[in-house]
């Protein structure tokens, strides 16, 4: 074994350069300061330069331009006169009708009634579905027992519950809320469960190694890790509540049920007034778009950006 030590090791008055060469050869750094310097150099080489966030005008202007194009196309089609004007009203007729509805106070009443019911129904659904979803996702026998039922309920159109609800609760708000719950709760539960399923197993191991109890594991590890899937479930849950609500409002009219957007739509049908029908459809659509733009969009974007999942996406 050739074991004569290299002369570099013991040289008392070595230059900085030889010291560095020796350090590199024996794979030891020359000292704490040297190590810190090397590391911070490498860190700055390997991390991205910070990017500033500016207002992205294309995000605001492109949708507005798209909307303008659609309205122009609509107006163009109507002015060709292919169909009778009372069957296919133009954008101007519809906006005039909306103005009338606004002045009568009907528009505000319908939007407010539906929105309020949709939101309250959705929030109660979230409060019920979240603990149930966590429980199903974490306890295997429960999931095996109820999983197929929950998936089935998500596929079952919640409108199917309207006749049953009317028989049970009559023409009251309870009917509307019942249908909303049956629409929203299964999809929120399913979203949460699939979010939990997609958690990398490594996270649970880390939790175990760090000494998390069962409750701590659920609240500190599982729930935050499942958040993207959970949020997807919430979005879908909101869509289902809004749709179910409209269906319920169209079918169940009268009694103590208030006047919502679905009722407005049904009223337009009874009066054979296409401008009212179109106004109601556009309002239902507008509420859906606004909730996505103002509530879910920003939350989702923030969530994904913080986890570094936004790079390369078209969001």
């Amino acid at each position: 074994m050739p074991s004569n030590p290299t002369p570099l090791a013991e040289a008392p008055s070595e230059s900085a350069e030889t010291r560095h060469i020796h350090a590199a050869l024996t794979r030891t750094s020359t000292g704490k300061e040297d190590l810190r310097e090397l590391e911070s150099g490498l860190d700055s080489l390997q991390s991205d330069a910070e990017r500033r966030h500016r207002i992205e005008w294309s995000r605001i202007l492109l949708p507005i331009a798209a909307l303008a194009v659609l309205i122009l196309a609509w107006q163009f089609y109507v002015s060709l006169g292919v169909k009778r004007r009372d069957l296919v009203p133009g954008p101007l007729d519809v906006s005039t009708q909306m103005g009338v509805l606004w002045n009568e106070g009907k528009l505000q009443e319908a939007v407010w009634t539906s929105l309020q019911r949709g939101l309250v129904g959705f929030l109660i659904s979230v409060a019920i579905a979240t603990p149930v979803g966590l429980l199903l996702a974490q306890v295997a026998p429960l999931r095996r027992a109820f999983g197929p039922l929950i998936s089935g309920l998500q596929v079952l159109p919640s409108v199917a519950w309207v006749p049953a609800a009317i028989i049970w609760f009559g023409l009251t708000d309870a009917t509307v809320y019942f249908v909303v719950f049956m629409g929203a709760i299964p999809s929120i539960i399913n979203g949460l469960i699939s979010g939990v399923d997609q958690i990398p197993p490594q996270y649970r191991r880390v939790g175990t190694v760090l000494g998390a109890s069962r409750l701590q594991m659920a609240l500190q590890v599982i729930l935050p890790a499942a958040l993207p899937g959970y949020l997807g479930g919430l979005k879908q849950g909101w869509a289902f509540s809004w749709r179910s609500l409209m269906a319920a409002e169209i079918i169940a009219v009268g009694g103590t049920i208030g006047f919502g957007l679905g009722s407005l739509l049904d009223q337009g049908r009874i009066l054979s007034d296409m401008t009212v029908v179109m106004s109601a459809i556009l309002l239902i659509l507008a509420v859906g778009i606004l909730i996505e733009l103002l509530v879910f969009g920003p939350i989702e974007k923030r969530l994904l950006r913080r986890r570094g999942l936004l790079a390369g996406s078209t969001r």
Binding site: M1, L35, L42, Q46, G207, L210, G211, Q220, A225
Partner: protein
């Protein structure tokens, strides 16, 4: 002795044993490199020492408070910042809120990341993430630190630096470290002792002491690396058909 393994064996179900008659003693404050080719049950052995899995035969003695663990991938939680990841480890250990903040900052300074505490894992490079992960395992405050190929996925330059870093931290904190690797140079660079595990079943077949001279003499270290590599290849060759 913080870790004593006696005739330790492990098999999954009715399959062939993964570990068979593993014997080892690891002293307090020692840095032991556990070396072996794929399929030698290195990770299983670490899991057993960590208490994540139970052995099927034999006995083991480990510190009563368990062990800190560092994984191959940093396994940081992406919804928390670097600092919050460390604070979570302290929180699950039961450290009070005000103390957590100061401790986390100390640990960040220790791994030279004092100014990167508010960054999220995806904003950090692989080496920085692994340093946060190291700080988090130190936050567990266990005498025994188990490391499962923690630098295997890093580029060579970063890995070399992290070797220096780990050695410095080991000297500063006096931890007992069991470091699993399949890289012979890494084992010689870091360990005071290198244990070679055979493959299928895993068993400690030979061990080498790495002296202070190996650290200061590149030629000597290279020599030892060669000897160990030859022995490792002999083990692998046994499985040729």
């Amino acid at each position: 002795m913080p870790v004593v393994l006696e005739h330790l064996g492990k098999r999954f179900g009715d399959g062939a044993p993964v570990l068979d008659d593993v014997n080892a003693n690891i002293a307090k404050g020692e840095f032991v490199a556990l070396l072996g080719a794929s399929g030698c049950g290195k990770s299983t052995l670490l899991n057993i020492i960590a208490g994540l899995e139970a052995p099927t035969s034999g006995a083991l003695e480990v510190p009563s408070d368990g062990a800190a663990f560092m994984f191959q991938d940093a396994a940081l939680f992406p919804w928390l910042t670097a600092r919050e990841n460390i604070e979570l480890a302290l929180k699950l250990r039961g450290v009070g809120k005000s103390e957590r903040r100061a401790k986390a900052q100390d640990l960040l300074e220790l791994v030279h990341l004092g100014t990167a505490g508010d960054k999220r894992p995806h904003e950090l490079s692989g080496g920085m993430r692994q340093r946060v992960s190291l700080a988090r395992s130190l936050a567990q405050d266990r005498q025994l630190l188990l490391m499962d190929e923690p630098f295997a996925a890093l580029d060579a330059i970063t890995r070399d630096l992290l070797h220096d870093e780990l050695e410095r931290i080991w000297k500063e904190t006096g931890r007992t470290i069991v470091f699993v690797t399949h890289n012979v140079r890494e084992a010689v660079r870091l360990g005071q002792r290198v244990l070679l595990l055979s493959s299928r079943p895993g068993r400690v077949v030979q061990e080498w002491a790495v002296t202070e001279e190996h650290r200061t003499d590149a030629g000597l270290a290279g020599q030892l690396t060669g000897v160990i590599t030859a022995r490792l290849r002999e083990e692998i060759r046994r499985h040729a058909k």
